[in-house]
């Protein structure tokens, strides 16, 4: 699948993707559309494996997936092309915004804007706590529920409250009472 035209195509395609790369997991869906459906740089199962890999590695998932697609398609050069292409719009835009920030942040308009944006950022983070927390709570409840089974089954205890695996109940003989009746 590799050729020099391939690398340039990779770069340009991911450059375009990089310009609208909002909302993490959603991005991966768009990458899939281009990589698997339209350009066929790799097939569905390869892509899914790649996503699983990228989620478990450090680094932003969408960027890693971009690199993965490039890697699968054109080796290390391809990975570089897709990674840089994907990240370039973000870098350029952020750079411009940073310059504007430094120069104009004391302007009353900017102050108003950022006063509100700070609150919005907090809302975004609290939302992240909330949605992540919900998932965690379920796991914690699962664990607690599972643990509660550890000693629930009273039928495995005989009338002397010794655990005997249900033998005395089943057989009618209590091992701790053998010889005493």
């Amino acid at each position: 699948m590799g050729s020099n035209t391939g690398v340039k195509d990779l770069f340009l395609a991911f450059l375009r993707l990089g310009m609208t790369a909002f909302g993490g997991p959603v991005m991966v869906a768009y990458i899939r559309q281009i990589a698997v459906n339209r350009r066929q740089w790799l097939d569905e199962s390869e892509f899914r494996n790649g996503v699983a890999l990228c989620q478990s590695l450090p680094g932003a998932t969408a960027m890693q997936v971009a690199a993965y697609v490039g890697l699968r398609s054109n080796g290390i050069t391809g990975a570089l092309a897709s990674y840089v292409g994907f990240g370039l719009p973000a870098f350029v835009i952020m750079l411009v915004l940073s310059v504007l920030y430094i120069n104009y942040k004391s302007l009353p308009t900017a102050v108003s804007l950022f006063n509100g944006l700070q609150v919005i950022v907090i809302a975004i983070i609290v939302n992240a706590v909330y949605s992540f927390g919900r998932g965690m709570i379920k796991s914690i409840m699962n664990i607690a529920f599972a643990l509660s089974f550890l000693d629930r089954d009273q039928s495995l205890h005989c009338h002397h409250n010794r655990r005997c695996g249900g033998d005395c109940i089943r057989s009618g003989h209590c091992p701790c009472c053998i010889g005493k009746n």
């Binding site: 973000a90 940073s98 006063n115 907090i122 975004i124 983070i125 939302n127 992540f132």
Partner: protein
């Protein structure tokens, strides 16, 4: 592949000997990248810790502005590194910080990808990722609290915050929330 690592080592060496400040920036950004597990905001707590608490390169509110700008830009939130780099050291700072925050994970991907199928099935892998994700809740809770303390609250901001949170919980797209929130801020703050 080895060439890439040698190249990286060479660049780091050059930085170390020529410009201490930039080298510092690089190491911090690389650390942030290496621990950015899990989706979305995973890297924010570490960024907060390293940039504001440990290095004191900026205050909480400036950092929050950087995060806000990171929301507006496409791409991962960790692009805030560009912001931090620029505020630290101008254009070269921005460039170096950005390279530093993306290179380690890229190299790791390149090296691990061919072997992933074998790694995936080991039990260490599953346990490691579980543990990392489990601690995340505590971390982002910390960030939420820290950010909330840094902001001078009033009734209007509280209103905006609650409205934004409600919208996000109902799965309104972040971009809309940011856009509408911005317009609101321009008029009312």
């Amino acid at each position: 592949m080895l060439i890439l690592f040698l190249l990286l080592a060479a660049c780091l060496a050059v930085l170390y000997f020529t410009d201490d400040g930039l080298f510092d920036l690089t190491t911090i950004m690389m650390q942030i990248d290496l621990f950015a597990f899990g989706g979305g905001f995973a890297s924010v707590p570490l960024m907060l810790q390293k940039i504001v608490n440990v290095k004191a390169w900026m205050g909480y509110r400036t950092f929050m502005d950087g995060i806000a700008l990171g929301q507006i830009t496409p791409g991962p939130i960790v692009i805030t590194a560009t912001f931090v780099g620029y505020l630290r050291d101008g254009l070269s700072g921005a460039l170096i910080a950005t390279l530093a925050v993306f290179t380690p994970s890229f190299l790791i991907l390149i090296c691990v990808a061919p072997f992933f199928d074998r790694v995936k099935s080991t039990r260490y892998f599953a346990r490691a990722t579980d543990g990392i994700l489990a601690s995340f809740l505590g971390l982002i809770l910390y960030v939420a609290i820290r950010f909330s303390i840094a902001v001078p609250w009033d009734a209007l901001k509280l209103l905006l915050g609650i409205a934004a949170l409600a919208a996000l919980i109902r799965k309104v797209d972040i971009l809309y929330v940011v856009a509408i929130g911005s317009i609101f801020s321009l008029f009312f703050f």
